[in-house]
Each structure stands twice: as C-alpha cells, then as structure tokens.
Symmetry: C2
C-alpha cells in the first residue's frame, strides 16, 4: 500500500493502472475509519482491481461553528486499518493541495439540498459535492462507494454525477451498526458514557416509526411518533425527523414505501444522523 499526498502522484499511479486495464474503485473518506468505511473498502476490494481511498477532512463542508477542528485525524491508525482491509493507495492531501489560493468554484445541487441536513447546515452539501467532484476528477475511478448513513449526501452525489455526466458509477451501501443499533460514525467517539448509552434510542425510534409505516401509518404520523420517542430522552435534542421520498427527498404525505425516514439529533454537542429506507415491494424496516 502506498500513501501519497500530491494530486500529481495519485494521478500517475491511477493512470498507469488504468492503462494496464485495471478497474479502479474509490472510497472517499474523512478518515477516522470504522467498520462502515471498511464495508465500503471490502465492496471495492471484491469488485475492483485497484482500491483507492481518500482521507481528507474537507473544510468547505463544515459550518463556522461546527467541528472541523475537532474532527478525528488519525492517519497512522487509518493507514493500518486500510492496509489490513486491502487498500492499494491512500490519497491524503493537504488543504492547500485541494484548495490552493484563488479557489472559487463550487458544484451546487438545487432542490435536493433544501431539506433535511441541507436545511440546517447551509453550505454543507455544496462543500460535499465540490470535494467529491474534485476527488472523482483527480482519481478518475470507475466506481465510487458511499454509505447510506449519509442518505441525502448519497442522493446528491448521484445527482451531480448524473447531471454533470461524470464517467463514474456511484454505489451506495447499507449503514453498518453497533450491536445495539447505533449507526457507525467517526463522530460517535465524541460521546461521553451517558450519551453513548442513550445514543441507540435514535435507531430504536426510527425502527418504531418504520414499524408504524409498515402497519399503515403515513409519513408525518411516523415522524411525529419518532420525535416523541426522542423527546422522551432528556439527553437528546431533535433537529429534524422527516419522512421523505427516497429520490426526490420531498416530504411524503402518503403511507407505505417507498420512503426514507431520516433524523438528526444532538446528544450534547454531538450531532448524530441516521435513517431507515423502505423500498417499494419491501416495506419491512
């Protein structure tokens, strides 16, 4: 495994792999690797000849009062995990490498970014789509892998790839969870013991909401039930609970799938998100 920090280096490696006819898979990350990332790497390993991951804590997707400074940066440990998982190349650029002076271009998606996290984190998804466009242009993978935990992010990334005709396939993979149901996130390490103990309620509440939908409840009704469950735990502060269409991300008034129920909560200063997707023809949560 090689770790490179320069765009020109990673381009040279990938370009020669492509010339040899190798299929390239990319897992973009901000580091703090956990089993969720590893499941993406595993999928790439099974599907592609060369597996690259990027590790870059992207400043443009953090708001001014968010956790950019605190975000876990543990490259040595990440590199060890990546190597064990069969990664071939880590691309870990500096902020200056990715955003040199004069940088002023953004990739922006309208409509899909108005609600959910986009409504509460202005500029966040623009930062995500911009860095993902850059990484896809730098690495030029055949396939790129993202987790469904960041559901809106996944939909928005698929949108930019379709709309800008980027020559890459985007694969979304299921959220990986702790045994108690908590979705894996690099931010889970911010939680203190009490918060960690309370945290699984987020997924429990979403599961209960999905169960209601399965029994015939409409989206808003399920969302209200979830909100009430979360409000019952004093450590939680709910930011949003929404039942939306899986593709348009518009709030759904109807009952039954297709539907994604998504929520964001604060546990102390830590913001956690999670979601359950119910597909058509399979309304089990």
């Amino acid at each position: 495994m090689r770790t490179v920090t320069k765009i020109s280096q990673v381009r040279a490696i990938i370009s020669s792999a492509r010339h040899r006819g190798q299929q390239v898979g990319l897992v973009p990350t901000m580091g703090g690797l956990h089993a969720g990332h590893l499941s993406l790497i595993e999928a790439a390993r099974a599907n592609d000849d060369l597996v690259a991951i990027s590790i870059f804590v992207n400043p443009t997707q953090f708001g001014p009062r968010e956790d950019y400074e605190e975000y876990p940066r543990e490259l040595a440990q990440d590199a060890q995990l990546a190597e064990q998982a069969g990664v071939d190349i880590i691309f870990a650029p500096s902020v200056e490498e990715m955003y040199p002076q004069g940088f002023s271009t953004y990739v922006e998606v309208e409509e899909l970014t108005a609600g959910l996290c986009g409504g509460y984190r202005p500029g966040h998804l623009r930062g995500v789509t911009t860095i993902v466009a850059k990484l896809l242009n730098i690495i030029q993978p055949h396939v790129a892998y993202f987790g469904e935990k960041d559901y809106q992010q996944l939909v928005v990334i698929k949108r930019i790839v379709t709309d800008l005709n980027m020559p890459v396939e985007i694969v979304g993979l299921p959220t990986v969870r702790e045994p108690d149901g908590l979705a894996l996130s690099s931010r889970n390490q911010y939680l203190n013991a009490d918060e960690r103990q309370a945290a699984p309620l987020l997924y429990q509440a979403l599961t209960a909401g999905a169960e209601l939908v399965r029994k015939g409840a409409a989206g808003p009704e399920a969302a209200e039930h979830i909100r009430q469950m979360l409000d019952g735990e004093p450590l939680f502060r709910v930011q949003y609970v929404e039942a939306v269409h899986p593709e348009t991300l518009q709030s759904v008034p109807y009952s039954g799938p297709p539907m994604v129920i998504a929520a964001a909560v604060y546990l102390g200063d830590t913001r956690l998100i999670d979601n359950i997707k119910m597909e058509e023809g399979n309304n089990n949560a």
Copy 2:
C-alpha cells in the same frame, strides 16, 4: 465526418479513439459557425488526432429576456463548414438529452463572475460553466479550445478546470475580426445595415483606449475615453467599459499592462462584446 446527437454515441466514438491512443480536441460552440470558430477548429486540427465540435444552443446561459429563441440554428450549413474544416465528429444534442427532467446541478464560480458580463447577465456564466463541465465530461477531450472574444468566459472556464481538477487543457485563441475590425460573432447577423456600419466603432474605441494606456493612462481614464467615443454614436448604448486585471478580472486603478479593456454595448437589440488584452512586457494593443 459523423454527426451524432446522443451522449452514448459520442462517448463510444471518443472512447475508442482514446483507446487507439489518439489525442482528442474539442471546440464547444453554439453553432452559427464563423471564421472565429474555424480558427479554433484549425488549431485543434493542427494539434490533435481527432477533432470534435459540439453544437448546442444552451438554454441555461440565456436570461429570460435574451435571444435564446432567435439565436441562429443552421445545423446543415454548420456541418458543411465543419466538414470542410476537417472536423471528425459533431455532437449536436437536444435540450432533453443535455437537461433531462430532474436536472438540478450547477457549476458556479464566485468572484470572477461578479463583474463585466457576469454583473449584467445573472446566471449566464453559471449556465456556461455548467454546460462546459458537462461537455468536457461527456467528450473527455485532451484539449478544449475557446475564443478570447468572450474573455471573462475563458477565464472562468480555466478556473473551473483548475478548481475541479478536470483532466483537460484549456486553450484560448485570439479574436478573429472582419476587415473593418468588428469581432466575429454569431450575433452580428442580427445587425441591420446601419448598425453593421456603426459596429466597428466598438473595436476602434477599444483600440484608442489601449493606445492611451500605452502612453501612460490609467485603466479608468482609458475606459472613460472609450465610453465617450461610444456615447458619440447614437446607435450605441453602452452597457459597460472596464479595465481589469487579466486573471483576477478586478478593476485596475493602475496604468500599463497587464490589463484587459472590455466593453459590452447594445446596437439596437443586439448585444455586442469585445476586448483588448495587453500583456506584461508587450503594451502594444
């Protein structure tokens, strides 16, 4: 020469050319081909193995009261000119092919787009950068060619390619002019006889302004002189005259190069733009 209308068709042709090791050049156009376009095609023909042009009147770069409907569409004549000029492929998609339902992604440049045409045509440059990003992703040329007549457009396109790490070289080529100095433009055919006769004053005024700069005048002084010359012709309505830095496009208070003097005027309903670039170490207009 082949003319194709589908993204999948042009991709298949270009992809097989690239696999054969051919270098691909692209000249993006909105049709209405004139000697300016032909000079770009000629440069591509001299430099690249396969020359593609796109012909697409891009709706997202026209404002609501602009000339999208009237813009020249003369594919048969354009195809004839292109074939004579040695073009290998014309990509002439429909609006639906480029902007299918659900389209909602835009590539946007900040700062550079605030002044000049960007200040008077809100959304215009965003439409340009979005369609150019799409065309570059669809055709994946090694080199793409643009005229310097649309100077701000050229700077902004170089910016998106740099900022988004797009794997393509952008080449800007000098404005081609009529014998009387009028910059070639597909919009010149809108001019009636009186307007056509008055039109060369735009370049004459810019040339006089550049001459003043060469003699030591500061940017704003030269711009004021140009504006007065243009205001002396009753058929002209000046939109802007600006002396700016060639890279930042910021107004320059200083005298001497590097400087671009750019202007936009209306002649009746027809909007014309032109510019003169004075490079460092070469302050001749």
